[in-house]
């Protein structure tokens, strides 16, 4: 029987956690990765002791080692059928304060670690012979400008570009690759920037989103669809999930 093991990064909170939670409910096995554990992750370990594995890992520490790390995980846990790159950080920083270090901090986690893991997971010895699915969590910021998000938006646009090339390169092996572009979703990452995303900002966003601000569940729903058999004819596509935000004001 084909394995249903999915690697999910950024597992400790937000979209990554929600995806892992929903996949486990659907009967998948999940290898979750994040720098630190969380109460939510501990609960998953308690509730799904057979199907949920957690690895604490700083994905930016040794990016070139990540493909081998995936292979080692596969030898222990079996072949993978999918990968969701949800790990990401955001900076809100005016352009005039930008620096190479700030750029690298964002790109190392948001882009480079994801590409290294994608390399590992698509190794013929690691991915199911029948194929699989990769979903990268991009952002509405990859297409719509927002002040202070130059590095973040560039990193998410980079993911979209990489996604299309991977989709083309891997299609012959029935490995599908897509990206999901969430709009403003209430996650712990947003709460971390509460000085920026204050009540006034939230009210403004709410007025720009015909269906209101989203929740991690809204994003997880499409990610789970893209990982499953029902999306078997979909690859190389970007999916806007944003409550209608791209309809304009």
């Amino acid at each position: 029987m084909q394995s249903k093991l999915i690697l999910v990064t950024g597992i400790s909170s937000g979209i990554g956690f929600q995806v892992a939670y929903d996949l486990l409910k659907e009967g998948y096995s999940v290898l979750g990765v994040s720098r630190n554990s969380s109460k939510k992750v501990e609960d998953l370990q308690l509730n799904y002791p057979e199907n949920f594995y957690f690895e604490s890992l700083d994905l930016t520490e040794n990016i070139d080692a990540l493909p081998k790390w995936v292979m080692a995980q596969s030898k222990e846990k079996g072949c993978f059928s999918g990968f969701v790159h949800s790990a990401g950080i955001q900076q809100v920083l005016p352009l005039q304060f930008n620096s190479h270090k700030n750029m690298l901090d964002i790109f190392n986690l948001n882009v480079f670690s994801g590409l290294a893991l994608a390399r590992g997971i698509t190794d013929k010895r690691v991915m199911n012979k029948q194929g699989g699915s990769i979903v990268v969590i991009s952002s509405i910021a990859s297409k719509i400008g927002e002040s202070g998000l130059v590095n973040y938006s560039a990193s998410k646009a980079a993911l979209n570009g990489a996604m299309r090339t991977m989709a083309k390169e891997l299609a012959t092996r029935n490995i599908r690759v897509n990206s999901v572009l969430p709009g403003f979703v209430m996650t712990e990452m947003v709460e971390k920037w509460e000085d920026v995303y204050d009540e006034t900002y939230i009210d403004k966003i709410n007025s720009q989103y015909p269906l209101g601000i989203g929740e991690p569940q809204d994003v997880s729903n499409i990610v789970c669809f893209l990982l499953g058999e029902k999306s078997r004819w979909i690859t190389g596509s970007e999916f806007d999930v944003n409550g209608g935000a791209n309809l304009g004001v």
Partner: protein, 76 residues
Amino acid sequence: MTRQEFLNELSDIMQLDEVLIGDEVLEDFSEWDSMANLGVLSMFDMEFSVHLTTDDLKNIKTVAGLMTLAGDNISI
């Protein structure tokens, strides 16, 4: 690079379960595809500063033949 290191690296590029021993015919492997070709070109470029082309690879039939292309860069 030693002969064994070369074989290990080539096995990785072709993503083989078993490590090559050296006398294999490349075309016997379904894994010897265009991406593996590109991988070998990159390996020669990065490891040996030898710039090969896909045409160079077309004339190579065996793993041992690939090692010949590396010349003195591979030690016993």
